[in-house]
Subunit: 64 residues, 2 copies
Protein backbone atom coordinates (compact mmCIF):
# COMPACT_ATOMS: atom_id res chain seq x y z
CA UNK A 1 0.00 0.00 0.00
CA UNK A 2 1.33 3.41 -1.02
CA UNK A 3 0.30 6.32 1.16
CA UNK A 4 0.71 9.90 0.01
CA UNK A 5 -0.13 13.24 1.57
CA UNK A 6 -1.48 15.43 -1.21
CA UNK A 7 -1.88 19.20 -0.82
CA UNK A 8 -4.18 21.44 -2.81
CA UNK A 9 -7.28 19.25 -3.00
CA UNK A 10 -10.12 21.48 -1.85
CA UNK A 11 -13.27 19.93 -3.28
CA UNK A 12 -14.66 16.73 -4.74
CA UNK A 13 -13.67 17.88 -8.22
CA UNK A 14 -10.06 17.86 -7.03
CA UNK A 15 -10.51 14.40 -5.55
CA UNK A 16 -11.83 13.08 -8.86
CA UNK A 17 -8.96 14.73 -10.69
CA UNK A 18 -6.39 13.04 -8.44
CA UNK A 19 -8.21 9.72 -8.86
CA UNK A 20 -7.91 10.13 -12.63
CA UNK A 21 -4.19 10.93 -12.35
CA UNK A 22 -3.66 7.75 -10.33
CA UNK A 23 -5.61 5.85 -13.00
CA UNK A 24 -3.36 7.22 -15.74
CA UNK A 25 -0.30 6.00 -13.82
CA UNK A 26 -1.82 2.54 -13.26
CA UNK A 27 -5.27 1.76 -14.68
CA UNK A 28 -5.55 -1.19 -12.29
CA UNK A 29 -4.73 0.74 -9.12
CA UNK A 30 -7.24 0.89 -6.29
CA UNK A 31 -7.29 4.28 -4.64
CA UNK A 32 -8.93 5.82 -1.61
CA UNK A 33 -8.77 9.54 -0.97
CA UNK A 34 -9.65 11.42 2.21
CA UNK A 35 -10.30 15.03 1.25
CA UNK A 36 -10.02 16.69 4.70
CA UNK A 37 -6.62 15.15 5.43
CA UNK A 38 -5.32 14.95 1.87
CA UNK A 39 -4.42 11.32 2.49
CA UNK A 40 -4.27 9.18 -0.67
CA UNK A 41 -3.95 5.42 -0.26
CA UNK A 42 -3.08 3.43 -3.37
CA UNK A 43 -3.06 -0.34 -3.77
CA UNK A 44 -0.72 -1.00 -6.71
CA UNK A 45 2.58 -2.60 -7.69
CA UNK A 46 3.55 0.52 -9.67
CA UNK A 47 6.38 2.51 -8.06
CA UNK A 48 5.41 5.29 -5.68
CA UNK A 49 7.33 7.86 -7.72
CA UNK A 50 5.17 7.17 -10.76
CA UNK A 51 2.07 8.19 -8.80
CA UNK A 52 3.82 11.22 -7.28
CA UNK A 53 4.76 12.41 -10.78
CA UNK A 54 1.23 11.84 -12.13
CA UNK A 55 -0.42 13.70 -9.25
CA UNK A 56 2.03 16.60 -9.46
CA UNK A 57 1.43 16.66 -13.21
CA UNK A 58 -2.27 17.10 -12.44
CA UNK A 59 -1.49 20.26 -10.49
CA UNK A 60 -1.35 19.05 -6.88
CA UNK A 61 1.57 18.97 -4.48
CA UNK A 62 2.68 15.75 -2.81
CA UNK A 63 4.04 16.57 0.64
CA UNK A 64 4.94 13.07 1.78
Amino acid sequence: MITLKVEGMTCMGCVRSVEKAVGRADPGARVEIDLPSGKVAIDSATPRETFVAAIEDAGYDVAA
Copy 2:
Protein backbone atom coordinates in the same frame (compact mmCIF):
# COMPACT_ATOMS: atom_id res chain seq x y z
CA MET B 1 -9.30 30.46 -30.33
CA ILE B 2 -10.93 27.33 -28.96
CA THR B 3 -13.75 27.86 -26.49
CA LEU B 4 -15.03 25.05 -24.30
CA LYS B 5 -17.69 24.84 -21.63
CA VAL B 6 -16.32 22.63 -18.87
CA GLU B 7 -18.53 21.21 -16.12
CA GLY B 8 -17.40 20.02 -12.72
CA MET B 9 -14.86 22.70 -11.85
CA THR B 10 -15.84 23.91 -8.40
CA CYS B 11 -12.71 25.48 -6.95
CA MET B 12 -9.33 26.92 -7.88
CA GLY B 13 -7.77 23.48 -7.47
CA CYS B 14 -10.04 22.28 -10.28
CA VAL B 15 -9.05 25.25 -12.41
CA ARG B 16 -5.36 24.47 -11.94
CA SER B 17 -6.03 20.83 -12.78
CA VAL B 18 -7.75 21.76 -16.05
CA GLU B 19 -4.92 24.17 -16.87
CA LYS B 20 -2.47 21.30 -16.41
CA ALA B 21 -4.56 19.04 -18.65
CA VAL B 22 -4.50 21.69 -21.37
CA GLY B 23 -0.73 21.95 -20.90
CA ARG B 24 -0.34 18.21 -21.37
CA ALA B 25 -2.25 18.41 -24.65
CA ASP B 26 -0.17 21.37 -25.89
CA PRO B 27 2.62 22.73 -23.69
CA GLY B 28 2.60 25.95 -25.69
CA ALA B 29 -1.13 26.64 -25.38
CA ARG B 30 -2.35 29.82 -23.73
CA VAL B 31 -5.41 29.21 -21.61
CA GLU B 32 -7.86 31.35 -19.69
CA ILE B 33 -10.46 29.81 -17.42
CA ASP B 34 -13.49 31.44 -15.85
CA LEU B 35 -14.52 29.34 -12.87
CA PRO B 36 -18.10 30.62 -12.35
CA SER B 37 -19.12 30.02 -15.97
CA GLY B 38 -16.85 27.05 -16.69
CA LYS B 39 -15.67 28.80 -19.84
CA VAL B 40 -12.21 27.70 -21.02
CA ALA B 41 -10.57 29.73 -23.79
CA ILE B 42 -7.51 28.18 -25.42
CA ASP B 43 -5.15 29.82 -27.91
CA SER B 44 -3.51 26.92 -29.76
CA ALA B 45 -3.18 25.27 -33.15
CA THR B 46 -3.79 21.84 -31.59
CA PRO B 47 -7.18 20.33 -32.53
CA ARG B 48 -10.09 21.04 -30.24
CA GLU B 49 -10.75 17.32 -29.73
CA THR B 50 -7.27 16.85 -28.25
CA PHE B 51 -8.10 19.33 -25.49
CA VAL B 52 -11.55 17.85 -24.96
CA ALA B 53 -9.99 14.41 -24.46
CA ALA B 54 -7.30 15.72 -22.08
CA ILE B 55 -9.82 17.61 -19.94
CA GLU B 56 -12.21 14.65 -19.81
CA ASP B 57 -9.24 12.46 -18.92
CA ALA B 58 -8.62 14.78 -15.98
CA GLY B 59 -12.11 14.04 -14.66
CA TYR B 60 -14.16 16.99 -15.96
CA ASP B 61 -17.03 16.99 -18.44
CA VAL B 62 -16.92 19.12 -21.57
CA ALA B 63 -20.45 20.24 -22.40
CA ALA B 64 -19.72 22.29 -25.49
